[in-house]
C-alpha cells in the first residue's frame, strides 16, 4: 500500500511552530484561530466518516474544538502534532455520544481500501473476495475496525494510527497484520 503524508504529519519545525501557537492561545483564546483553521477540515472529515450526517459531524467538530480550547491549559507538549490530541478528543466525543444513544456510528468503507486489504493479504483481486471481505468487516471487533478504518480507509501512516489510538507504532503494525490474518482465514472459508 502506498503511504502518503497526510496534512496531520508535520515536520519537527512545524510542530515547534505549533507549540508556539498553543502557548499564545493559552494566553489569548483568539490565537487559537490558526490552529482551528489548520485542523478543522481533517477533524471534520475524521468525524464525518464515523457518523451519519454532515450536520452531526459539524456539531461534534464544534464541540471538539470548544473542548480543546477549554482544556488548552492542560495540554502538554510531547513533540506530537496538536492534531493527535484533537483526534483523541474527537474519538472520545463520538463514543460518548454513541453510548448516550445520541448518535449511530458508521464505518465509511472505501472500495479502494478493501482492494488494498486484499492485496496486502496476498490474495488475487476478484469480485468474490471483495464481497466476502466487505461482509467480513461487519464481524470485526470495535478495536479491530478502528485500526482498519484508520489504516485502509483513511490511508494513515502506522505512526499516525498509533498516536491516535495511543499505542506504539509497532503494536499498531502487529495488531493490523493480525486482523489481516483473521480476514484471510475468513476469505478462505
Amino acid at each position: 500500500m502506498n503511504e502518503s503524508l497526510t496534512p496531520y504529519h508535520y515536520s519537527k519545525e512545524r510542530i515547534r511552530l505549533e507549540e508556539d501557537l498553543i502557548r499564545e492561545a493559552k494566553k489569548d483564546s483568539s490565537k487559537f484561530d490558526i490552529l482551528y483553521k489548520n485542523y478543522y477540515e481533517q477533524i471534520f472529515l475524521f468525524i464525518l466518516k464515523r457518523v451519519e450526517t454532515e450536520d452531526i459531524a459539524d456539531d461534534i467538530t464544534s464541540q471538539v474544538f470548544l473542548k480543546a480550547l477549554s482544556n488548552l491549559s492542560k495540554y502538554k507538549e510531547i513533540g506530537l502534532p496538536f492534531g493527535s490530541w484533537l483526534y483523541r478528543i474527537a474519538r472520545n466525543e463520538i463514543y460518548d455520544l454513541y453510548l448516550k444513544n445520541k448518535i449511530e456510528m458508521v464505518v465509511s468503507v472505501e472500495s479502494k481500501g478493501v482492494w488494498d486489504m486484499i492485496a496486502e493479504i496476498g490474495e488475487e483481486k476478484n469480485e468474490e473476495d471483495f464481497t466476502k471481505l466487505h461482509a467480513a468487516l461487519g464481524i470485526l471487533t470495535d478495536d479491530e475496525m478502528e485500526l482498519i478504518e484508520l489504516r485502509f480507509f483513511e490511508k494513515r501512516l502506522f505512526k499516525e494510527v498509533a498516536e491516535i489510538l495511543m499505542i506504539t507504532e509497532n503494536n499498531a503494525k502487529v495488531k493490523t497484520y493480525r486482523i489481516l490474518d483473521k480476514l484471510k482465514l475468513m476469505l478462505r472459508k
Binding site: S29, S30, F32, D33, Y36, K37, Y40, E41, F44, L45, L48, K49, E52, E54, D55, D58, D59, T61, S62, Q63, F65, L66, L69, S70, S73, Y95, L97, Y98, L99, K100, N101, K102, E104, M105, V106, V107, S108, V109, E110, S111, H134, L137, G138, D142, M145
Partner: protein
C-alpha cells in the same frame, strides 16, 4: 446506555464526502471563541448539551420562516450556535470580548479583605466566606472576579437582561449601577457561604433613593427583589467607609486543623474510656498524653461499662471537640458520643501544653496575615490603579449580598402607554450594492434613562418619539447597523414599517458612537 464493547456500526461504502470548499463554509471560529469565553466567564455550562443543538436548529429554521424575510434560507452554523447558546445562557453578550472585563483580585480566604475597585467601589470580604460546590471550606488564596456596569453602553455589551417580570407585568429596569462578582479557586468556581455575606459599597452616578436591589436568578430567568440599598450621597470630601474595614483585623482564632482542644477535667460522675488511637489521625489531640474519653451520650447504659468489648475505636464527629466511640462485641456495634478529658494528675500538664501551642499558633497566624495582607494590598492597589477610569460619582450605594452573581440597583419602570410601536421589516433589495442583513435583536437607548431596551425581531419595537434616541441592531456578521433618526421620525404608529438599518463601516467607531450617546 449502550455498551462500548459491542458497538454496532452501519457500513456505508464509498460515501460522497464534501470537498474542502464545502467544509470551509462550516468553519466558524467566532462561535467557538464566543462559547469558550462564556464558559470561562461562568455564563455557560461547561458542556453544551448535544440535544440542544438539534432543537436549536429547529428553532432557528422556524424563526426564519416566521419572521417575514422574503427569501427563507437554511440556517448557517453560526445561527445554530447562537440559538444553542441562547437556550443555555440567560446572559448573552452581543459582541463577546467587548463587554466590561472582569478585574481579578487575589484574596486570602482565611482573613478575608477589602477590595478597592477602579470606580471607587469597595468590597468587604469576610473571613472564610467561600465554599466549594461540595460545601468544603477553602483555606488558600482565591481569585475574585468583579466588574460593574454603569451606563447603557456597559449594559448593552454585558448582555444582561433588563426586563423584569412581576406578576405577569413586564417592566424595564432603569439602573443605578450593576455588579457581577464570581470567585474561583484555580479553575473551580466557588460559592459564597451564605452566613458570610459580602458588603458592597458601590460607586453610583445616581443618588436617587427610589432604587431597589435585585439579584439576577439565572435559573428562573428573572430578577429577584432583595430589598433596598442604602444610599450615601457624596459630599465634597467624603469617602466611603465599609463597616467591615474596621473589623478587618486579624481574627483571634486558629486554623481548625492546628487547633488543640482546650483540656477539661473529667467528671467523676460520668463514664470514661481510655482508648488507644493514632495521633496522626487526631492532630487536635496529638500534643496530649493520657487522654480519657468521657461519654456525653444519654443513650449510654451503665451496663455497657461492664462489658468486655472486643474492640473500642475512636472516630471524628461533625462537631468540634466531640468524638464518636465505637464499641464492638461480636456482630454488635454501639456508637456513643464522647469528649476528651483529663484526670486531675494529667490536667495541669495538658493545660500547659495547650497554652503553649495556642500562643505559638497565634503568633504564626498573625505573622502570616500581616505578610499576606501587605502582599494583597500591594497587588490590589496596582490593579486598581491600572484599571482606574473616570467615573462621575454622585453617591455610594451600600448593600449586602449572600450569594455570588449579578446584582442591580434598579428601578422598574412601569409599562406606560406605548408611545410608538413599530414593526421593523427588512427591505430585501435584490441589488449587488445593498447587503441583505440578518439580525435578531433591536437595541434602543434613550437619553436620560440608564437602561437598554432590547426587542426581538418578532415583537413590536417600542420607541418614545419625543425622546432623544439611538436605535441599532447587530447583524449575523457582528456588524453594528444603526437605524437613521430620519427614518425613525417617519415611522407610523401601529402599523408595520419598512426600515433599513445602515451598517457602520467600523465596529469600533460604531461602539464609540453608542458610548458617547450613553454618557
Amino acid at each position: 446506555m449502550k455498551d462500548k464493547t459491542n458497538i454496532k456500526r452501519k457500513l456505508l461504502t464509498d460515501r460522497n464526502l464534501p470537498n474542502s470548499d464545502q467544509i470551509s463554509q462550516r468553519k466558524d471560529f467566532n462561535s467557538i471563541n464566543k462559547n469558550y469565553n462564556m464558559i470561562k466567564n461562568g455564563l455557560l455550562k461547561k458542556a453544551l448539551l448535544w440535544g440542544g443543538a438539534i432543537v436549536g436548529t429547529a428553532i432557528v429554521v422556524a424563526a426564519i420562516y416566521l419572521n417575514g424575510t422574503t427569501t427563507p434560507v437554511a440556517p448557517k452554523p453560526d445561527n445554530k450556535k447562537q440559538t444553542e447558546v441562547a437556550m443555555d445562557a440567560f446572559v448573552l453578550p452581543p459582541l463577546p470580548g467587548k463587554e466590561t472585563a472582569f478585574s481579578t483580585f487575589r484574596i486570602c480566604t482565611k482573613t478575608g479583605g477589602i477590595i478597592n475597585y477602579k470606580t471607587g467601589s469597595i468590597l468587604s470580604i469576610p473571613a472564610d466566606a467561600f465554599l466549594t460546590t461540595n460545601n468544603k471550606s477553602i483555606s488558600d488564596s482565591i481569585d475574585i472576579k468583579y466588574r460593574e456596569f454603569h451606563n447603557p453602553y456597559d449594559i448593552f455589551l454585558s448582555g444582561i437582561p433588563m426586563k423584569y417580570d412581576s406578576a405577569g407585568t413586564q417592566y424595564t429596569f432603569e439602573s443605578a449601577g450593576m455588579i457581577e462578582i464570581l470567585a474561583f479557586d484555580g479553575n473551580e468556581q466557588l460559592k459564597l457561604n451564605e452566613r458570610k455575606p459580602i458588603e458592597i459599597t458601590m460607586a453610583s452616578s445616581n443618588k436617587d433613593g427610589r432604587f431597589n436591589l435585585y439579584q439576577l436568578d439565572t435559573v428562573t430567568k428573572n430578577w429577584l427583589c432583595k430589598g433596598k440599598d442604602k444610599v450615601m450621597p457624596i459630599s465634597d470630601n467624603a469617602s466611603p467607609t465599609a463597616t467591615s474595614i474596621e473589623s478587618k483585623k486579624p481574627i483571634a482564632s486558629v486554623k481548625n486543623e492546628e487547633e488543640m482542644i482546650e483540656p477539661t477535667i473529667a467528671d467523676p460522675k460520668k463514664f470514661c474510656f481510655s482508648i488507644g488511637y493514632n495521633k496522626k489521625d487526631f492532630p487536635e489531640l496529638a500534643a496530649y498524653d493520657n487522654v480519657l474519653f468521657e461519654v456525653t451520650d444519654h443513650k449510654f447504659k451503665p451496663a455497657f461499662y461492664k462489658i468486655n468489648w472486643d474492640k473500642i475505636s475512636l472516630n471524628n464527629s461533625d462537631t468540634k471537640g466531640v468524638f464518636i466511640v465505637k464499641l464492638k462485641k461480636a456482630d454488635s456495634t454501639i456508637s456513643v458520643n464522647a469528649k476528651p478529658v483529663f484526670d486531675k494528675e494529667n490536667y495541669d500538664n495538658a493545660l500547659a501544653k495547650f497554652e503553649s501551642k495556642h500562643k505559638q499558633v497565634m503568633e504564626e497566624r498573625m505573622q502570616f496575615e500581616s505578610e499576606n495582607e501587605s502582599k494583597l494590598n500591594k497587588v490590589n492597589v496596582q490593579l486598581a490603579s491600572y484599571n482606574r477610569r473616570d467615573f462621575a460619582k454622585a453617591a455610594y450605594r451600600k448593600f449586602v449580598i449572600p450569594i455570588l452573581g449579578i446584582f442591580n440597583c434598579d428601578y422598574p419602570m412601569p409599562p406606560t402607554p406605548i408611545p410608538l410601536q413599530i414593526m421593523v421589516n427588512f427591505i430585501n433589495i435584490p441589488s449587488t450594492d445593498v447587503k441583505q442583513i440578518k439580525y435578531s435583536t433591536i437595541y434602543y437607548i434613550e437619553k436620560g434613562k440608564n437602561t437598554v431596551y432590547r426587542f426581538s425581531k418578532n415583537e413590536p419595537t417600542q420607541i418614545n418619539p419625543k425622546g432623544k434616541n439611538l436605535v441599532w441592531t447587530i447583524t449575523d456578521k457582528n456588524e453594528i447597523a444603526f437605524f437613521s433618526p430620519l427614518d425613525i421620525n417617519k415611522l407610523s404608529k401601529g402599523q408595520p414599517n419598512n426600515i433599513r438599518p445602515v451598517i457602520a463601516k467600523n465596529q469600533e467607531i460604531a461602539l464609540a458612537e453608542i458610548r458617547n450617546f450613553s454618557n
